[in-house]
Amino acid sequence: MRAKDQLGRAGEDLAARHLVGAGFHIVTRNWRCDAGEIDIVARDGTDVVIVEVKTRSSTDYGLPAEAVSWQKAAKLRELAVRWLREHPTPQSVRFDVISIVMPRNGRTQLQHYRGVC
């Protein structure tokens, strides 16, 4: 596994633990289809939450959350539609972004943006 994938995996694990700690119920992780992958699908009360996790080892090139451009947001919406087609649900759907900075040595920082796109 390459270093950046390892970092991404570690970030997703951390995000999942954070979500559980925040009272979310993890529905699925790394759900794939031919259009791409959803990092985490969770349930927060009555909401279905599509979670995008962005992890970086430093903020030298900006915050991880800033990498979620409008193109990425459109992609997430498309993926959400595909997931909903396979898992019909009457509940409302929300998009969250979890931005994680994991320096090689130093404190890991996690920021949870709710209902962003």
Binding site: L63, A65, S99, Y113, G115, V116, C117
Partner: protein, 515 residues
Amino acid sequence: MRLGRTRSIVLTGLVAHAVTIEASVGTGLPGTEWTGLPDTAVRQSAPRVRSAVESAGEIWPAHKITVGLFPASVPKSGSHFDLAVAVAVLAAQGALDSSAVRDLVVLGELGLDGRVHPVTGVLPAVIGAVRFGHCRIVVPRANAAEAALVPGVEITAVGSLRELCSRLRGEETAEYDDSPVPLPTEDASLDLIDVIGQEEARHAIEVAAAGGHHVFLTGPPGVGKTMLAERLPGLLPDLEGDDALEVTSIHSLLGRLAPGRPLLKRPPFCAPHHSATIAALVGGGTGVPTPGTISLAHQGVLFLDEAPEFERRALDALRQPLESGVVTIHRAGGAATYPAHFQLVLAANPCPCARGGKSTDAASCRCTSTQLRAYKNRISGPLLDRIDLRARLTPVSRAVLAAGASGEPTATVRERVLQARARAASRLRGTPWSTNAEVPGPDLRRRWPIPSDALVTLSADLDKQRLSTRGVDRVMKVAWTLADLAGREVPTRDDVERARALRIMGQTAELARTA
């Protein structure tokens, strides 16, 4: 959601509007949203402000920032909101005390490194802020002297965002100097003593300075038309109080103020090239129109060398401001009114080949009468009609050159001009006018009549239609100026005849040659 609020100023022309700048830090992905009619330059300031905030050692919020500019109906343009946006964002985060910045007016552009760069229009903005009752104003250090011209303001001049933050927090990190830079003395290198001969034209310039009249100088190249015109501002009195502030405001708006010389106390001199367009002369441009050369020449001298070479439409665009002293320019982006009370000096060669004119080697002039007429016609009658004084410059003879005969220095002539102006001003006390040229004809005839025996020739001119009614009025204004220069209570017949000669002698001579 956290909110930070501060103030700034936006200028529409010279008119200031108070703007409230709010920043809220709320939920959402990091990014900046704008509301309240910002233009592209304002909208693009977000990355600049962010970089400056980070360079200043402050934290840029990792959330969605919404910046609101109120009132939303006024278009916001310019880069001077940077510093205010930075202050509002820092206040929203609690990095600055929001009560300390709420009533602050903040002007300044930020560099990526957090330095505060100077901006244009600080003087009119500060004047406007005071009018709105906001007296605590932050300006870039380079604009401090300009801002300090306005009485009753508390100016904080800053060189960087870091400096502003530590001063707002009351940290005594260093001694800051808010005192304006001392002003250098005026450059008085252009003296009338340099002009050799040309008694007639020198006299016309003196009369122009004393009464605020417009002048038309004709003569072959190299005889000193430009030299004389450049020396006219030197004869004019200093700009006083509000006039000086108004002139300085216009120059500030265009960023034309020299560093260390914030207040323009001398009448400006503008000499646009004859390729100038209407927009360059009277003002224009996209968005809110910017002032043109005639407004830069406000309370000073507008010199149009090679006047017939100017586009005729551009010259005719001067007629309305010549009458009203202001110019209003309408564009899709808005309308702006700028003061444009200037003294016009036109200069022209006697003919297209420049060899003509009765005192030069007229025989070598190869211009046809058609060419001559076309050349003269390039300056329209209505424009010429507004010019009170015409003077012909002739080549200087060898005898005059050899004798080294120089005329009077500027100081001597200026003394006479100031006395004449004082005399006119005391006569015109209690009226809106201060020079003879400004007084409307009907008022002049009714309130300051010239004895009828002095007007014999003028009456004949009117009867024979050699002069229009406006022409007669203008001759009378010049006659008053001549009387003021000579220290007489009322113009004599001699004054009127000389005034008439200054107006129509050149005209008839030109007409005679053209015919």
